[in-house]
């Protein structure tokens, strides 16, 4: 694999959230195997059902699903904005559901940041006041918190707009402020609930690039919600796909596209060109025996194993039959053949 599997940082075990009166009692009575229909018949809304997840340190973990599939509820369970009906959420070995309210306030202040779909900027505050607000709530003195805020504003590329009011900014700029604010307290866990869904497609793409750039610098542990499968594939290290409150598949974009677990997942993957997802390392012919020494046989073109087949394709334009594939240390681990690329691209 191109990356070692990261240590789990946030784990949730068998998490349930049932909206409606006496949800917990119903769950106890009917057992954890109960179907969604059965609960719905009782007038309850099973928004999250028996979710198990492990989210690694420094990973971009995307939760994908259609509207109403429970994504927002799940991510709010992770920070206990919504109180789960059952289950465990373990962060740094501590079960969050057992933490006291003041302990939760401390954890949210110092270890969690969140970006909202509709920005949730405070309309009466300037950009710099909005970004400094989480620190103000913690009681930081003014010059210190505003200095931090200015750094964050520069980081998201809004330097010069510090004194603007939210309503004077475009949607994309407002979300940059939201991002800066969520980073102000330097959290370890970064939750983003459909941060780009309210933006125009062009701006959305620009913001996705911006997000990847930020993450390459910051290396946060990220839970990113989206209902857009393309966005998920572009950004994710791993994706969890939700349907009616349950997670139906967890895997890398490649795993999900190449071997969808259910018809529901297959529906999403249908329109995705394989070549844009599949990585060179997955379809190469490995070098027999041990990988060749770095530099050996490097007369032709070569690409890293992590890059996608679509990225490798232009190298074949010159007429090469095969391209060398290098691993993380720069050693050649195999060869990508023209035939394999053509087959993959024809497959869609």
């Amino acid at each position: 694999m191109p990356r070692p599997k990261p240590e789990p940082k946030l784990v949730c075990r068998n998490v349930w959230k049932i909206f409606g009166p006496h949800g917990a009692a119903a769950l106890d009575r009917l057992g954890h195997g109960v179907s969604a229909e059965r609960l719905a018949a009782l007038g309850l809304v099973p928004a999250v059902r028996a979710v198990d997840l492990e989210i690694g340190e420094g990973e971009i973990f995307v939760i994908m699903g259609l509207s109403g599939s429970g994504k927002s509820t799940l991510v709010r369970c992770l920070s206990r904005l919504v109180e789960p009906t059952a289950g465990e959420i373990i962060f740094h070995g501590q079960n969050l559901l057992a933490a006291s309210e003041s302990e939760m306030i401390r954890l949210r202040r110092h270890t969690m940041g969140m970006v909202f779909q509709h920005f949730a900027l405070l309309p009466h505050m300037t950009v710099v006041q909005n970004v400094a607000f989480p620190l103000e709530v913690q009681g930081q003195p003014r010059d210190q918190r505003e200095a931090t805020a200015r750094r964050m504003i520069a980081l998201v590329g809004l330097a010069g707009r510090e004194q603007a009011l939210p309503r004077q900014l475009s949607g994309g700029q407002q979300q940059r402020v939201g991002i800066a604010r969520s980073l102000a307290a330097d959290p370890e866990l970064w939750f983003l609930d459909e941060p780009f869904s309210a933006l125009d497609p062009l701006i959305r793409r620009e913001m996705q690039d911006e997000f990847l750039r930020l993450q390459s610098v910051l290396k946060k542990t990220i839970v990113f919600i989206t209902h857009d499968f393309d966005e998920a594939i572009r950004l994710a290290d791993r994706i969890a796909i939700m349907k009616d409150g349950a997670v139906v598949q967890v895997g890398t974009p490649e795993q999900i596209v190449l071997s969808p677990a259910t018809d529901y997942v297959r529906e999403f993957t249908r329109a995705v060109p394989r070549a844009k997802v599949v990585r060179a390392g997955s379809v190469m012919a490995p070098v027999a025996g041990h990988a060749a020494e770095a530099g050996a046989g490097r007369d032709g073109p070569c690409i890293p194993a992590r890059s996608t087949v679509a990225e490798a394709a232009p190298l074949f334009a010159a007429g090469a039959e095969a391209v060398a594939v290098t691993d993380a240390e720069g050693r050649i681990s195999g060869h990508l053949h023209r035939q394999a690329v053509i087959e993959l691209m024809l497959a869609g």
């Binding site: 709010r76 920070s79 904005l81 306030i105 401390r106 949210r108 202040r109 110092h110 969690m112 940041g113 969140m114 909202f116 779909q117 509709h118 920005f119 949730a120 405070l122 309309p123 009466h124 505050m125 607000f133 989480p134 103000e136 709530v137 913690q138 307290a185 939750f191």
Partner: protein, 647 residues
């Protein structure tokens, strides 16, 4: 109910039921008096003994109630003192100067007051608003109403911050604790339907006669809408804002005061505007318990039948209301105007100069214009010249419509009326509504005030009918033409900011006292919502429906009658509802021109400081309002369901 026996119920519905019920009712009304006289006049012996206990309770509160650490009287004294000091201070600043709690306070020169008001206008909305506000204040000075206006302004300036702060706290508390909200809603509902005079009685007894009592009454009157607006604005905030607060680790206090309340600013400012306008309205009315100021001038003029003076004071109220409304609306819109800096320096300079030169301090007498005698002459002329035609109109209306309707209503048995109301309630909203409507009607009869209540219903009903007859066509016309709608809307917006007192003056001038005068004033006051809801309802009809109608080849008339009016029916019903509420609130004030209804009962109670009598009569008015409100709301909901509109 549907599960009970749908078949049998369906059998009962439809016009047959109503025909039967009305026939029964008519027969009973015509021939039942000998059979069951008690169903016509509630037996004197069986009148609920509620008046005296209420009066006694208030007396006991005043004289004996002990709240542990302090007595009730001490509590009211403390409240009075807390209001009194800032009031004296502001009043001294604005008008004559003098002592406030031992401090010698100089009177601000009139130019300073006008300048400060203009500067506020400049800050909130730029040059145009500044000019408007300055013109309004200048008008007051020009017509010699300055001192009275400053007394009124002082009361408003004290009452508004108290009303806003109190309403905000109450609203926030109701947002935070659901049980408090549930407990508060019916209380606020009742408070808003009880006529204003009814508030004045207990306050008069508890706080005595004078400006302090008036301010307390004003705060109590203006606070409920602020509380409501606050709760609503907070509940309407997007869930994300609340989530944000929790996510960054706000404590509950930080959440409320740092996140939610500031974010809800826009909504809250609407409430502030309401508090200001209601305060002004109430300060004028509270001249009856010693508020003084412009209201007192109008009241005095009404009593002396001195129209010139009354009209001038009335116009001063109007311009003051316009200035305050535009100012607070501009602040609420938050568009922002000019910078304050240079203006402040200018104002300070002018103030200093005026303090040095006594000649500048007071508005020069020579510049004063009194149009009072002129208006009196005009009125005399009109009354002399048109006396016969005015009298003829009045007599025709009285003899042709008012008196017969009144006779008819007074002849009805309370039992029959309660029965019919219950039936209407049952048809529109089921058993609960039936019990409410019928029960409240019986309760009114049981207080022994049935006759006054029927006079109230007669005046209110006729006025509402006339207001709807005027308002519907205007609303329909205005809905069709954008230009006209702009004009009409400006007019009704302005009309609605005017304190109800103002409407009495012209009606009295033309027709003296009596029911006809009262009806005119009520119609003038209540026509605004009739126009507004009709126009808004028609303009809100889904344009696709109109397009479909046009595609089918409907004429304009058909589109109006078959599509627009039908679809706008729920809105128009709500307009009717509002018209009734407006009419009832005005009706009580027309007691001043000698009606004999529940309003008069409250007014008499006020002059005699009889808390029980005032509250009971006030509650009866509230009951009438509640019956009308619930029945019409249910009707509107049914109409909406039938038309397939969202609730």
């Amino acid at each position: 109910m549907a599960a009970l026996s749908p078949l049998r119920l369906r059998h009962w519905q439809g016009p047959g039921l109503w025909a039967g019920a009305l026939a029964l009712f008519a027969a009973f009304a015509l021939w039942g008096r000998d059979l069951a006289p008690w169903a016509f006049d509630w037996p004197r012996k069986a009148v609920l003994p509620v008046r005296r206990p209420i009066s006694d309770a208030v007396k006991w509160l005043m004289n004996h109630a002990d709240l542990g650490l302090f007595t009730f009287r001490e509590a009211t004294r403390a409240i009075a003192a807390a209001v009194e000091f800032p009031y004296r201070l502001v009043l001294a600043l604005l008008s004559e100067g003098g002592q406030a709690a031992g401090l010698a306070v100089p009177a601000l020169p009139w130019v300073t007051v006008v300048g400060a008001a203009a500067l506020l206008g400049w800050r909130a909305g730029g040059a145009g608003l500044a000019a408007l506000v300055a013109a309004c204040f200048g008008f007051v000075a020009l017509f010699g109403q300055w001192d009275a206006a400053m007394v009124t302004l002082a009361s408003v300036l004290i009452a508004v911050p108290l009303g806003v702060a109190g309403g905000l706290l109450l609203g926030v508390a109701a947002w935070r604790w659901r049980w408090l909200d549930r407990a508060l809603v019916p209380v606020l509902d009742l408070m808003q339907t009880i006529p204003v005079f009814a508030y004045l009685v207990p306050i008069l007894i508890l706080f005595g006669f004078g400006p302090t009592a008036a301010v307390v009454a004003t705060v109590i009157y203006a606070l409920p809408p602020m509380a409501r607006v606050t709760t609503l604005a907070l509940a309407r905030m997007p869930a994300e804002t609340h989530d944000l607060g929790r996510m960054i680790g706000c404590t509950r206090r930080q959440m409320t005061w740092r996140v939610m309340v500031p974010s809800a600013r826009d909504g809250l400012m609407v409430g502030v505007n309401q508090v200001i306008m209601l305060s002004l309205n109430m300060v004028i009315i509270a001249s009856m318990i010693g508020a003084g100021g412009l209201g007192f001038e109008v009241l005095g003029a009404l009593r002396r039948l001195d129209f010139g003076a009354g009209l001038e004071a009335g116009l001063a109220i109007v311009v003051l209301a316009v200035a305050m409304d535009r100012l607070s609306q501009a602040f609420a819109a938050g568009r922002g105007g000019g910078r304050l800096g240079p203006g402040l320096w200018l104002l300070a300079g002018v103030t200093l100069a005026a303090l040095m030169l006594p000649a500048l301090r007071d508005y020069p007498d020579g510049w004063r214009l009194s149009t009072g005698p002129f208006w009196s002459d005009v009125m005399r002329w009109i009354n002399v010249t048109f006396h016969d035609s005015l009298e003829a109109v009045k007599d025709a209306a009285l003899l042709g419509v008012l008196v017969p309707v009144k006779r008819f209503l007074l002849g009805l048995p309370w039992l029959g009326v309660a029965g019919l109301l219950a039936l209407a309630g049952w048809r529109l909203g089921g058993w609960r509504l039936a019990t409410l409507a019928g029960g409240l009607a019986v309760l009114i009869a049981a207080t022994g005030l049935w006759e006054q209540a029927m006079i109230t219903v007669y005046l209110c009903g006729l006025s509402v009918a006339v207001a709807m007859l005027i308002g519907l066509p205007i609303g329909i016309l205005a809905a069709e033409r954008d230009g006209l709608w702009q004009v009409v809307r400006l007019m009704i917006d302005t009309a609605q900011t005017l304190p109800s007192f103002v409407y009495l003056m012209p009606a009295v001038m033309l027709f003296r006292v009596g029911d006809f005068t009262a009806m005119l004033a009520i119609v003038a006051f209540a026509v605004a919502p009739a126009i507004r809801y009709t126009a808004l309802g028609l303009r809100g009809v889904d344009p696709r429906l109109i397009e479909a109608g046009r595609a089918m080849g409907c004429t304009r008339w058909q589109i109006l009658t078959r599509i627009k009016l039908r679809m706008a029916l729920p809105e128009i019903l709500l307009g009717l509802n509002q018209t009734i509420m407006f009419a009832l609130s005005m009706l009580v004030i027309t007691a001043l021109v000698g009606t004999r209804d529940l309003g008069q009962e409250v007014y008499v109670a006020l002059t005699k400081a009889d808390a029980g009598r005032g509250l009971v009569a006030g509650l009866c008015v509230a009951f009438i309002a509640i019956i009308a409100d619930r029945l019409i709301q249910a009707g509107a909901a049914r109409a909406r369901a039938r038309l397939g509109l969202l609730p």
